[in-house]
Amino acid sequence: MDIRQENDVEEHDSTQHYEVLQELGDCYTSVGNSIEAQRCYEKAASLGPDEPNPYVGLGVVALQKNLLDDAEIAFRVACRLDVNCAKAYAGLAMVARQRGDYKQAFQMYLKCLELDTDNLTALLGLFQVSCQMASFAEITHYLEVYLNMHPGDTSVMFSLGALYMKDERFERSKKILRDVLALDPANKDAANLLEEVEHNLVKAKQKGL
């Protein structure tokens, strides 16, 4: 069939079928239909054999089923296909966390955030692992970077407020918690933490700090 005119032609997209299946898999994952999600990801993987995302999806489905070994294999395949696949590292971190290997989880979350400072799952995961390990030095930096890009994210603001308090940076903690309450006056956790921070501030002033 002979027809060709530059303007008449939509962009050739050879990944459309793959994209539909990947999107569908992600939607089914979101509604907890792991059987359909797995079916879609497997088909997507056959259509896009070099794409890491179907394997990330398969890893998430395995995680939902608590099949940690299967999840790890899937996330590792995704990493092999794309060494810069942030989601795959976040997946590996979640597997490690489930296994109680916080050190490994911490490293994988960090690796994910190096590639994608915007990844909220990794950020909050890192915060939780940091709490479990009582190590907060690096997480503060990532939370601050994230907040610069997403001002007004109260869950991250609250986490940062808690970290500042642990570091005895009470003034900063007080300010950010007040900001949280301005945005979300019903946030009880923030109100309680602010009360604690203000109490610590008074104590610190009394000590002449």
Binding site: D2, I3, R4, T15, Q16, H17, C27, S30
Partner: protein, 528 residues
């Protein structure tokens, strides 16, 4: 059998399926033609001297099939002509041996031609399927896009094709006017036919997707693709098509006569004529006023030249006057030897004249100067000026006859739609999606092709982050004529809104189209 009789109403449609060495796909193509909801069919399969396909034809055991088994390969145009001679249908439809009709294809087009229009031709939209051919020959679908969905545009059709051949249906009797397929052409034979059809009828564009044609990734073995690689052959075919003039009377196109005036039949004159040949796509005939003694000096393959005998002592104006007497065209172009002829050299001004509602007006051509004066005029105006003021120069006589001459304004030029779409493409390339979206909305409101432009605008709005507008447009398109791309786009927006149920529903529909659209349509229509 009962079903065959049940729907055997309406005119007979002859479906022509030429085939050459693609038995695997022929079987699928033929099955799709036989599975039509419209049953009153004559299906003519022409094997053009390729691998024997008799077993495939016989396996269908359907009396509606006529099989022509040619022993030697004589090309697609010749195959179609042989089939057309055998065709008994009131309407003709075409299917390539590796493409598919959806079950609604014939019914949709017959309904349009019988009930919705006076046009003699209708066409629908088709999916272009990008696929990977697997080792066993099966085709893995990678994407399906409606690549061409352009409303009928006669001026564009003269320039190039915009109607896919398997989407076309026309009355059989219109071939008495157009003639059969040109067997001297190797490629673009379908454009040659659609272009000739445009001389006699408008085309009705039906906004339904009624079939699919395949494009394998990587190196294509399609004959037309292979033959396109020979650039000289391609150019030869384009020229042959653009200079084809079906027999008159033409009902939809007015002829153009080019009076070419040369003092001497020298190299410059030859070059200008050659450029006219290469750069004119509107149907024309060249009138060459020459002393008879010079006639035998003309040695050219250029078609559509009429030699006009003139006195060797004739003036420039007299040569034009003599030629004008024999000109067939409604539009007359006067052009001197040595005039700079480039692409669109005459069509820009001609288009402005065709669409001008002002009488007694002509348009000078781009590059026209006092020395090389060139213009396009209505024949009646020029005749009036020359008969009223025969002793003046042509230009002066027009002035004296009150026939205004000017250059076309930008908005009067042809292909406004294409110029704007090119601007959109550039904006998209630069990442300026907001500008692209704005332009697309303007085009949709002012230059037809509403559905197509809406589809592109939905994507542009999505890219700008205006999801509300993207959702509105994609949803409107999906209600009228859903495609995989627009379903996918709408689903992505619902997913962003965390409405996963709606997103899943849309994505499942897209997945069904990508999987097996025929099954889907059959389920909906209740056909087996």
């Amino acid at each position: 059998m009962a079903e065959n009789n049940e729907k055997k109403i309406g005119p007979v449609v002859s479906v022509l399926i030429p085939t050459f060495n693609r038995p695997r796909y022929l079987s699928e193509a033929l099955a799709s033609a036989l599975r039509q909801s419209y049953r009153n069919l004559q299906i003519i399969v022409i094997n053009d001297g390729g691998e024997d396909v008799s077993d495939i034809i016989n396996s269908f055991n359907d009396s509606r099939i006529v099989f022509i088994n040619r022993k030697e390969n004589r090309g697609k145009a010749s195959s179609l002509n042989e089939a057309l001679i055998r065709a008994g249908g009131e309407y003709i439809a075409y299917l390539d041996d590796d493409d598919l009709f959806y079950p609604n294809h014939i019914e949709t087009l017959v309904n349009a031609l019988e009930n919705e229009t006076d046009c003699l031709v209708a066409y629908s939209d088709l999916y272009k399927v990008y696929c990977k051919v697997m080792p066993d020959g099966s085709r893995q679908v990678l994407s399906k896009v409606v690549e061409v969905s352009r409303d009928f545009d006669r001026f564009f059709m003269l320039y190039f094709n915009h109607v896919l051949h398997p989407s076309l249906m026309h009355r059989r009797d219109v071939l008495q006017k157009t003639g059969l397929y040109n067997e001297n052409l190797k490629i673009l034979i379908d454009w040659d036919m659609t272009r000739r059809l445009a001389f006699f009828t408008d085309f009705k564009h039906v906004y339904e997707i009624t079939g699919q044609h395949y494009t394998p990734t990587g190196e294509s073995d399609r004959i037309s693709v292979q033959q396109r690689k020979d650039k000289n052959e391609y150019a030869r075919n384009v020229l042959a098509i653009r200079t084809t003039r079906p027999a008159k009377p033409w009902t939809k196109i007015e002829d153009m006569s080019i009076i070419f005036v040369a003092d001497l039949l020298n190299q410059q004159a030859g070059e200008t004529l050659g450029l006219i040949w290469h750069h004119t796509f509107y149907p024309y005939k060249v009138y060459l006023p020459l002393p008879e003694a010079d006639f035998n000096r003309i040695d050219t393959d250029m078609p559509n030249i009429t030699l006009v005998p003139v006195n060797p002592l004739s003036s420039y104006a007299q040569k034009i006057d003599t030629s004008l007497g024999g000109c067939e065209g409604e539009y007359i172009v006067i052009v001197p030897s040595g005039f700079p002829v480039e692409q669109m050299w005459v069509e820009d001004s001609l288009y402005a004249l065709i669409n001008s509602s002002v009488s007694r007006q002509g348009f000078e051509l781009e590059g026209s100067t006092d020395t090389f004066w060139a213009a396009v005029l209505r024949k009646g105006d020029l005749q009036y000026a020359r008969s009223s003021f025969p002793n003046l120069s042509v230009r002066e006589s027009l002035k004296a006859a009150d026939i205004a001459l000017r250059h076309p304004r930008p908005e009067e030029l042809p292909f406004q739609f294409d110029i704007l779409v090119k601007g959109v493409r550039m904006a998209e390339k630069d990442g300026n999606w907001a500008k692209a979206a704005q332009m697309l909305e303007y085009i949709a409101d002012n230059h037809q092709n509403k559905l197509w432009m809406k589809t592109l605008a939905a994507k542009a709005f999505y890219k700008t982050g205006n999801f509300a507008q993207a959702l509105k447009l994609s949803s409107e398109v999906n209600q009228q004529r859903p495609t995989v791309n627009t379903l996918l786009l709408e689903a992505k927006i619902y997913r962003k809104k965390r409405d996963f149920g709606s997103a899943i529903e849309l994505l499942e529909r897209a997945g069904q189209i990508l999987g097996d659209p025929i099954k889907k349509i059959e389920i909906q229509s209740g056909n087996p």
